[in-house]
Amino acid sequence: MSALNRRESLCRLGALGLGCVPGVYAAEATSKTESPRLLVVMLRGAYDATNTLIPYSSSFYHEARPHLAIAKPSSDEYSAIELTAEWGLHPALRSSLFPFWQAKSLAFVPFSGLEDPSRSHFEMQDKIEFGRGARSSDYSSGFLNRLVAEISPIPPAMAFTGTLTPIFRGASRVPNMALENGVIRPVSPQEIERSEHIARMYEGTALAASVREGFETRQRVQQQLAGEMEAASRGATSPRGLGLAAPRIAKLLRETYRIGFIDVGRWDTHVGQGAATGVLADRLSELGSSLAVLAHELGALWAHTTVVVLSEFGRTFRENGNRGTDHGHGSVMWVLGGGVRGGRVLGEQVASEPQTLNQNRDWPILNDYRSVLAGLFARQYGLTSAALERIFPGAQPRDVGLI
């Protein structure tokens, strides 16, 4: 379908007086390489940060995790990868993520999270996504939705998830669509006609804008992604989940969207989490590979992209009786991107000793995630302190030197 036809079909809904999504055409018309891209990746289930960014120089770490601790860096491929004198990286990330560290486009912020006594996954995931701190009961919007509203012109944003989770809810309309499954087909004229009939029924109802946007997004995504070569069909292991979504997300970030969100589950390793190999190692390996694919597919745009990986909290410093770990507190945020001042572990840090643990149980939180993200957004988007206050009410922006 030619560009003219595409524009026409996208705006046929507009001809019915329903309007097109503002900002989209502005983005398509101007050069696409200048605006910064942001992707937030939420790991649901509280991934074990302590075995990912490893405090290998602490003897307490090795005592506390007799079965789970990763060995100090050595020539053994199952030992921690040396990053600094204190910190190592899980060996499962050697081929995927370590090169970004070496290229100085990956940084870590340990001892980060949201200070809140609850160790409830569900409550904390929500609180982190809503971004109003631990004590707010305002659930009207999530922090990425508020960020969108503060950038001019309003950047197209999208949640690459099957449901619209809190992070993108709010006054700005943000579409959602899962990209992890199956083949993407081109749009048919019947689909367009059907969507017009249905959209007309919703005129004047509360769901009108949502319905209209859903059709537009679906049709736009299908136009941009239909006909892609599925490398998996060539006999290699089929990528699933984030692995399948990563190249698609890259393409959408190149073509249309500026801010995105995706989540990855199954990190809650209470039992048998494994050490250098095992359940956690497998998850980290999949995640690392997917991020590497994303960066590769973004090409020149990687220089203008920031990816933030975070989780609702960390896990217990000591292993439990089932060779796993339980709900903890302080976690580690990853920040990667072509423009990131990487190859460093940033923010406030302490040595991992029994006396520095929170409640003698888990890592403390020394770097509020909202402060860190506010500092990052301030630099990435040139935001004023008033804008930052609207995005993260009550948080103190801190520039820890990420970009």
Binding site: S118, R119, E123, G162, R173, R194, M201, E203, S210
Partner: protein
């Protein structure tokens, strides 16, 4: 043919005639309050149908509700549905028999043999899970005990287990749903709680089978308070979590065929057991109360404390009100329901009576956004339920998967969310319209329409008298344009804004 068989056949035919005639009766008589009754039924069932409306109008709301909430008995399923359910392995064999069969499969000497056995067990367990899906869908679509089915879904979701991963859960999710959940769905909360706490599916899911003296696992204790009883704001502390974890030690699963340990107490047909020597002895303190009994009695004491707690009354009332009234239920209503919960000692049907008879309930009708399960089942019930023998569970579960709410598919213990914001994102609305098309196409393919199946259409009397008057002008105009295209007409009907709500 024996006399008994002849009587049954005659009874079946009589039933058929009554239902067919009833269908025609409804079409002829537009009773006062029909639209209101349909809205009422839409909320308290998986979707009003001409038959269910007729029943309601014959009995009146009070009697209908009382009948639906009976804890001791239930109305029989239509014979064709019962027949299909009776043919399932999960009906013919107990959970214990299913597990014993798996335990007795030859393990073999080689690694290959063991791997092959493991694969076989996994495949069989998945098949049992699918049978559970089939049974649940058959009842959601055809059961006369609609409110019990809704409450079964609600309580399963509240006490969620994910039937993926451990084969035990996959194999036993049907047993869990039937004996822990459905059996107690309209009974006493304390009974429901204990049935869940002593079921192997839950003990495996939240790792309590690994919670033993000297090796504490807190997972179940935390979720038992946060998600199942007090709620996250219920006022418990990390200390309470640790104490409850200790109280729950020794309660786990048993090995099929193994003799019980000395002084062990067994539950769930013997699939779960409390083993005293695995229990952390001594008194505990929970929520400021002394827990001073010993062994299994100590666990029961803790369950009493939790089930009677005012925070539990509030939290359960909030969840019931969220599911049956509104996303943000009025605080006044929650207060009244909590009070009823406490004074009735956790009688679920008493609380439901108060809820349904409340002015807040009446005022909320037609305004609650359907979650995907309610959407898909109500669509099937309305547009064409077809013959029970033809219901294709795989296909329906596929639609639910597209809409992100497959049965037994919620991975996390918090259950699926119950508010509109979780389900009405723009991408989800588009997906819903896709599913509406598939539902409309699917039943059109199954011609010719048999005596008991109704292919709802634009000329159908029920559409003309009950459905269409409830739609907006825009919806009716759009439907009018498709009146000669039955598939498109049905798809558009299922896509109307009005059909998205109950």
């Amino acid at each position: 043919m024996s006399r008994t068989n002849r009587r049954h056949t005659f009874a079946n035919w009589l039933q058929v005639c009554v239902l067919v005639c009833a269908g025609f009766w409804v079409s002829g008589v537009v009773q006062a309050g029909e639209r209101e009754d349909v809205l009422w039924l839409n909320r308290l069932s998986f979707g009003a149908t001409p038959q269910s409306l007729l029943e309601l109008q014959k009995m009146g709301r009070g009697s209908w509700l009382t009948r639906q909430l009976r804890a001791d008995t239930a109305d029989p399923l239509p014979p064709a549905v019962q027949e299909r359910i009776n043919a399932l392995r999960i009906t013919q064999q107990t959970g214990l028999q299913l597990l014993t069969h798996q335990a007795e499969l030859p393990r073999g000497d080689s690694k290959e043999a063991r791997v092959a056995t493991a694969k076989q067990i996994r495949a069989e367990s998945a098949a049992l899970r699918h049978e559970t899906v089939e049974r649940a869908l058959l009842q959601a679509v055809y059961s006369p005990n609609q409110l019990r089915e809704l409450l079964t879904w609600f309580w399963f979701n509240h006490f969620n287990v994910a039937a993926h991963g451990p084969v035990t859960i996959m194999a036993l999710v049907g047993d869990y749903e039937q004996y822990a959940i459905r059996r107690h769905a309209t009974g006493r909360f304390r009974d429901l709680l204990e049935a869940v706490v002593t079921h192997p599916a839950m003990l495996v899911y939240l790792n309590n089978n690994r919670n033993v003296r000297g090796r504490i696992n807190e997972n179940y204790a935390r979720e038992l308070m946060e998600l199942h009883t007090l709620g996250v704001d219920g006022g418990y502390t990390q200390q309470d979590v640790q104490q409850l974890a200790k109280i729950l030690t020794g309660l786990g699963t048993s090995q099929p065929g193994q003799e019980p340990a000395p002084e062990a107490v067994r539950f769930s047909q013997g699939m779960a057991e409390f083993v005293p020597k695995r229990h952390e002895p001594g008194g505990k303190v929970l929520l400021g109360q002394k827990i001073d009994r010993e062994g299994w009695a100590q666990i029961q004491q803790a369950l009493d404390v939790l089930a009677r707690h005012p925070a539990t009354a509030r939290y359960i009332s909030l969840k019931l009100a969220r599911y049956f009234v509104a996303d943000e239920p009025p605080p006044e209503l929650i207060s009244r329901l909590s009070k009823r919960f406490l004074e009735s000692e956790g009688d679920i049907s008493a609380v439901m009576q108060t809820l349904v008879m409340s002015p807040e309930f009446e005022a909320s009708l037609g305004k609650k956004f359907k979650d995907p399960v309610q959407y898909v089942i109500s669509a099937i019930r309305l547009v064409s339920p077809g013959e029970p023998a033809d219901l294709r569970a795989h296909r329906i579960q596929g639609w639910l998967r597209l809409l992100e709410q497959p049965l037994y598919g919620r991975q996390t213990p918090d259950g699926y969310p119950m508010t509109a914001a979780a389900w009405n994102g723009s991408g989800q609305m588009t997906q819903r319209f896709d599913v509406a098309l598939q539902i409309a196409q699917a039943h059109h393919g199954e011609t010719p329409p048999k005596l008991l199946s109704r292919l709802l259409g634009s000329q159908d009397a029920w559409s003309q008298n009950v459905l269409l008057p409830g739609l907006s002008g825009r919806s009716r105009e759009t439907l009018q344009e498709a009146q000669n295209q039955p598939v498109t007409w049905r798809q558009l009907l299922l896509s109307t804004p009005e059909f998205m709500f109950r």
